[in-house]
């Protein structure tokens, strides 16, 4: 009987938590897509809030093998 009550309580808590967190889980992928957005091949945000200074980025990741790439050449390929 105790086990049943404990399980029931836990389910109630989990359900409440799920319902209350619903509004926080809305991400852009669940939002309505504007028809004009679909004309282009991709969409990226236009804001410039999160900026990274390039030399800092390379210094912070100097030991990370993922950043030990031919950054100059392959990035320039994109820019050109």
């Amino acid at each position: 009987m105790d086990i049943r009550e404990a399980v029931h309580d836990r389910m109630t808590h989990e359900l409440e938590a799920l319902i209350s967190s619903k509004s926080q889980t809305i991400t852009p992928e669940n939002s309505i897509i504007e028809a004009t957005e679909l004309d282009k091949s991709y969409h990226m945000a236009r804001d410039e809030k999160n900026k990274v200074y390039l030399p800092d980025l390379l210094e912070q990741n100097s030991t990370d093998p993922a950043y030990r790439v031919r950054i100059s050449s392959s990035l320039l390929q994109i820019f050109y």
Binding site: P28, E29, K51, V52, A66, R68, I71, S74, L75, Q77
Partner: protein, 200 residues
């Protein structure tokens, strides 16, 4: 080259010193984004959108293969590790142009495995070893067709040999050895592989 008609991934870019000196990233700043949405045409000729989020598991994308020889599979696959844009001055331009780009980790096909519809096996890919110059790279988002669903080959386990300690790893205990390309994930993806004769 992008300005001259599109960057081709996998090609070794060759630039002259003059060309290199004409590209200036404004203030040496790049701007990061968490998501990028890719639009594609569905099997019933409508438009839809896939969102890649670098903070979630939805990071794998597919693009057309640029292999000219021995092309046995029509697509390339990559994991998006960063979504960025930069403002770039070209030559004497007084106004910078916004350039969007993705930082990706490339997957390579497991060519040893007999796969495909004829062999009744899903195709397999695995991360390119980090010693390879093409293990990571930058990609023009315009080249992406859509997101894709790769299933870890759980039976083959994980390994630490493809990449050292890095934020780009699958997890602290290593990368999955291989992934299966889930062409059956959605009817749209099934259509991408040329299996477009559906009946409803």
């Amino acid at each position: 080259m992008k300005k001259a008609g599109g960057a081709i991934p996998g090609e070794d870019p060759k630039f002259t010193d003059i060309e290199l000196s004409q590209v200036i990233i404004k203030d040496n700043l790049i701007f990061t984004h968490a998501t990028a949405a890719f639009n594609y045409t569905t099997y019933d000729i409508r438009r839809d959108q896939d969102t890649v989020n670098i903070n979630s598991g939805r990071q794998d994308v597919m693009l057309p293969s640029f292999e000219e020889e021995n092309q046995t599979h029509p697509y390339w696959y990559a994991r998006v590790l960063g979504i960025y844009h930069a403002n770039v001055f070209y030559g004497q331009a007084r106004k910078p142009e916004r350039v969007d780009f993705l930082f990706v980790r490339w997957f390579g096909r497991d060519v040893d495995q007999n796969s495909g519809p004829a062999n009744l096996h899903l195709e397999r890919v695995g991360f390119v070893p980090s010693e390879d110059a093409d293990a990571f790279g930058f990609l023009d988002p315009e080249l992406i067709i859509r997101a894709c669903h790769l299933i870890p080959a759980f039976a083959l386990g994980r390994n630490l040999r493809l990449l050292g300690r890095s934020t780009a790893r699958d997890s602290l205990v290593g990368d999955w050895e291989n992934y299966y390309i889930n062409r059956l994930y959605s009817i749209n993806l099934f259509g991408e592989f040329g299996c477009s004769s559906f009946t409803f």
